[in-house]
């Protein structure tokens, strides 16, 4: 807009500039000064018009005042400066040539109206804005409240519906709120539970550190803790829980509440206890079982210095007979009764009774002074068995064999102790039973070696640890070698060469005697063939024969005849080169079934010798029935002939036996010939063949080969 500086427009501009400069510092407009001045110009023009109008227009003046508020001049200082400016310059710049007095009065009235308009507009604006912001705050609160309500409702649903128990208490322990799951667990109503104090729930089973953890938590030194805790229910039962307690803090981090989350573990715990009980107790008698006994024994053995243990290992004598004759139900009742009686024997602290299985029981005593206590315990046990046990109206005598082990803790393992007790119990049993024996290290060692040999036998056969030595059989008439007895040896990797007395009974016991015997038979016959190939036909008295021992077990083995036939055929050796030696005792009372295989072999041409003749109580009349062609006199008969003159009784006996044998068409072989005088005496008495150190000790097959050659050439 262009205006002459001194024209009306120019004067109006100057007024506006002055006004704008006064106002700008007290406004909070973001307009620039120029923009602001442009905003004021229409207002100044309006004032100018109103000043010179014919009549005074209050409303129009008020509108100008209100427009100031609209231009964001909300600081009342803006009104003051505006009025100052109008008062000083409006008439001066816009009054033109009008009457000064009237103009002044008009200006003054305009100012009054402007002030009123300004005040009214500011008041309305203030009220409107206050209303608007209050409304906004309300709406915002509404939104938040609604959201909070929703989230609270959700959390409440979680709280109420949770399967785990939830409770909130203040830091003094007062219970403030609990959920339904917790009420169910406790079996209490909300009224009873609320207002209770956490500290009231002390339980004898509380873990020792639990209440220390609690104190730390409510002090704010701990954020949470986790324990297994028991609570008493009003019905007298116990509630077991997995309990987690957390500290809740407020926005400033100050501790405020404690939150408990608990899971009912009562049933799980009972189940665990029952499973544990079942895993550690014998179902029949309710006594602790082997695993619990081992646990306790190990604990006793692991106890500190000065602590000892005593153990009684009981095995009932003849229990199998009870089972077999009266049935298992009766046997079980017997065991239950025995268990009850044993239980009453071991009631002192540190004592326990367990059933290891079958009719085997153990009683344990621990602590110092078990040297005396274990004897008393053993006595009580033996006494407990004295009174007969009544089963099905029958009084059963119960006897037992007891092995006792006693010693200091920390020296042996549980397995070693139990083995010693077991061995000792077997000693009591082999001594006739119904007695107790005290463990003895030497007896243990023997038993252990025996056990070791037994278990090593099968692999020994596989590994070829057995070998055979041969002891010549010499014809007493001409001194020629007629054959040899095969004697098996075991070259044990640790124990060296072992004689048959050390392992044949074990092999008999385990049944290994059958394959071992078969092996001896095969080896010996193969050896017989070798001898035969070397100097067959050289001997007038026939081929070298081989004597092989048969154990009772082999005798009753169904494969005996077939195995022997197979071996003979395979090696191409005629049956007459073989003599099987059977002990007299093995044939005592033998029936036809047992004798049948021997008869078959005899019919084939195999000689059968009756070994160790004269040691058993054989029925001489029975001799006739046996398929035997040779009697081997036991060495006890020849021992009396080692000195000179010979024992006349022995002489008579041998003479009689020889006479009897010969009359039955049996040859007689004597064992244990150690001197020439002995040999001569036996020859005179009519014995046919002899073996013994006088001729040769048992040795490798080559030795026999050499002897036979000497014999043949000499």
């Amino acid at each position: 807009m262009s205006a002459e500086p001194d024209g009306p427009e120019g004067r109006l501009r100057r007024l506006t500039t002055i006004w704008s400069r006064a106002l700008f510092p007290v406004t909070s407009t973001s307009l620039t000064r120029t923009e602001f001045e442009e905003q004021l110009l229409p207002l100044a023009r309006r004032l100018s018009e109103l000043l010179r109008a014919r009549s005074f227009d209050a409303d129009a003046a008020k509108a100008v005042g209100a427009a100031l508020v609209g231009a964001h001049c909300t600081d009342p200082e803006a009104l003051a400066r505006t009025l100052d400016c109008v008062d000083a310059y409006l008439v001066l710049y816009c009054g033109e040539d009008g009457p000064q007095d009237e103009l002044r009065i008009r200006s003054s009235r305009l100012q009054h109206a402007m002030a009123a308009g300004y005040a009214q507009a500011l008041r309305e604006r203030t009220l409107a804005e206050q209303e608007a912001i209050a409304q906004a705050a309300l709406r915002a609160q509404g939104v938040v409240a609604q959201a909070l309500h929703a989230s609270e409702a959700r959390f409440r649903a979680v709280f109420e519906g949770a399967a785990i128990g939830i409770g909130i208490a203040d830091l003094d322990g007062n219970v403030l709120q609990v959920n339904k799951a917790l009420l169910r667990m406790f079996g209490l109503s909300e009224q009873t539970l609320r207002g209770r104090r956490v500290q009231d729930w002390v339980h004898p089973e509380d873990a020792p550190q639990m209440w220390r953890l609690y104190d730390e938590l409510v002090r704010g030194d701990r954020e949470h803790y986790h324990v297994e805790k028991a609570f008493n229910r009003p019905d007298g039962t116990v509630l077991w829980t997995n309990l987690t307690v957390s500290l809740l803090r407020d926005a400033d981090g100050d501790p405020q509440y404690q939150l408990a989350l608990m899971e009912d573990t009562t049933e799980r715990r009972l189940l665990n206890l029952r499973l544990r009980y079942e895993a550690t107790h014998d179902a029949l008698t309710g006594l602790p079982n082997r695993s619990l006994f081992f646990e306790r024994l190990e604990k006793a053995l692991g106890a500190g210095e000065g602590q000892r243990f005593g153990l009684c290992y009981l095995d009932l004598d003849g229990f199998k007979t009870v089972n077999d004759s009266l049935g298992h139900a009766a046997g079980d009742r017997l065991l239950v009764e025995v268990a009850d009686r044993l239980q009453s024997c071991a009631t002192a602290p540190g004592e326990m009774v367990a059933r290891l299985g079958g009719d085997e029981f153990v009683a344990l005593t621990t602590g110092p002074g078990t040297e005396r206590k274990v004897d008393e315990l053993a006595e009580r046990i033996m006494n407990a068995l004295v009174t007969p046990i009544s089963i099905d109206g029958r009084d059963l005598m119960v006897r037992g064999s007891l092995g006792i082990v006693e010693g200091p803790a920390g020296e042996r393992t549980a397995a070693e102790v139990l083995r010693s007790a077991d061995i000792t119990m077997y000693r009591a049993k082999s001594a006739g039973g119904n007695r107790s024996e005290l463990a003895d290290p030497e007896a243990d060692a023997r038993a252990i070696t025996r056990h070791g040999l037994t278990t090593a036998l099968p692999t020994a056969l596989e590994r070829g640890e057995f070998f055979i030595e041969y002891q010549p059989l010499v014809h007493l008439g001409d001194g020629s070698v007629r054959g040899a007895e095969a004697l098996v040896r075991w070259l044990h990797p640790q124990h060296g060469v072992l004689g048959p007395d050390r392992f044949i009974p074990l092999a008999e016991h385990t049944g290994l005697i059958v394959p071992l015997g078969r092996w001896v038979l095969e080896e010996s016959i193969r050896q017989a063939r070798a001898w035969r190939e070397l100097h067959g036909g050289q001997k007038a008295a026939g081929p070298l024969r081989i004597n092989v021992n048969l154990s009772p077990c082999q005798l009753s083995h169904p494969g005996l005849v077939q195995d022997t036939v197979d071996i003979l055929e395979r090696t191409g050796v005629t049956p007459d080169a073989l003599c099987l030696e059977v002990t007299e005792s093995a044939l005592i009372g033998a029936d036809d079934d047992l004798l049948k295989p021997l008869r078959r072999l005899a019919e084939m041409g195999v000689d059968i010798a009756l070994d160790d003749f004269g040691t058993g109580y054989s029925n001489l009349a029975n001799l006739r029935r046996l398929p035997v062609s040779i009697l081997k006199l036991d060495r006890s008969f020849t021992q009396g002939m080692q000195q000179f003159p010979a024992d006349p009784v022995d002489l008579k006996i041998v003479e009689g036996i020889v006479s009897l044998a010969h009359s039955l068409d049996l040859a007689v072989t004597v064992e244990g010939v150690e001197t020439g005088a002995q040999a001569e005496q036996l020859r005179i008495l009519g014995c046919d063949t002899a073996q013994g150190w006088y001729y040769a000790r048992p040795g490798p097959p080559e030795r026999l080969h050499d002897l036979a050659l000497v014999d043949a050439t000499g």
Binding site: T74, I133, A147
Partner: protein, 270 residues
């Protein structure tokens, strides 16, 4: 109903709010006595506080006009506060008819009021979100409705970053927003600083402490620290300067001394 992520646990109008204090400095009545009390207390230390706010508004106005002049039609104003005269959408529309604006604030009362004021205006909307969670802003429905992130946007961070403590990683938040912006977008920023305040720092600190007391600590940063917010942006002339010196409409010498309290700048994404 889901509780909106921004919603505080409760709204306590007995606690002062920075946006209502700001309104009071600007002569508005969208405030309560607690706000005015805090404002008056701060003004005891720095009587010229309203002039600082005014300078912020004036800069914002110039910068929005500049953006419009650059052809930008979309505006994202984070920390918009209580709508008062001369708002972004008013300034932008004056320059570019049809400009679209999304306001963002975390003060629920400011948001509720904005919604009331802007109701019925389809090209403007308000989002309740926090600058400290840029993804809440970027994924909000109003932003998707009004702003095409494939085209340049003017992002306004006017007088807001000095309310974000370092622990809340303001640089990370600014970078995250930058990542979302198309090339040619502008960052329009002001930030409080002891540099430029026409008072000894100890005295200014009194006003700063008032904000600390109302749990909205005011973080004064140095010019270098403020410049780091423009990482990844090319500075628009004249760079980061005291507020009245940014492309002034009138001689800066005429401005109130308090108007120089704080830096302003505009950057452009490559």
């Amino acid at each position: 109903m889901e509780r909106p992520a921004w919603a505080p646990r409760s709204i306590d109008i007995s606690v002062p709010s920075v946006s209502r204090i700001y309104d009071y400095y600007l002569g508005g009545s969208h405030n309560f006595e607690v706000d005015r009390e805090a404002a008056r207390k701060a003004m005891e230390f720095m009587p010229g506080l309203p002039k600082i706010m005014q300078a912020n508004r004036a800069f914002m106005r110039r910068a929005v006009r500049f953006a419009a002049g650059e052809g930008i039609t979309q505006f994202l104003d984070v920390g918009s506060g209580i709508p008062t005269f001369g708002n972004v959408h008013e300034v932008a529309r004056a320059a570019v008819p049809g400009a679209r604006v999304v306001y963002v604030d975390h003060d629920p009362v400011a948001v509720a009021h904005s919604q009331a004021v802007l109701a019925g205006d389809d090209d403007v909307d308000v989002v309740a979100a926090d600058l400290r969670k840029p993804q809440d802003i970027l994924s909000s429905p109003p932003l998707h409705r009004l702003i095409d992130l494939n085209r340049p946007v003017a992002l306004l961070l006017v007088a807001i970053l000095h309310f974000v403590e370092d622990a809340d990683d303001p640089y990370g938040a600014v970078a995250e927003l930058r990542e979302a912006l198309a090339p040619g977008s502008l960052l329009i920023l002001t930030h409080a600083s002891y540099e430029g305040i026409p008072l000894p720092a100890e005295r200014a600190r009194g006003a700063v402490d008032v904000y600390k007391d109302i749990r909205n600590p005011l973080i004064m940063r140095t010019r270098d620290e403020i410049a780091r917010f423009f990482e990844g942006y090319d500075m628009v002339e004249p760079g980061l300067v005291l507020m009245p010196r940014w492309r002034p409409d009138s001689a800066p010498e005429d401005e109130d001394p308090y108007a120089f309290s704080g830096f302003a700048g505009v950057g452009r994404t490559a």
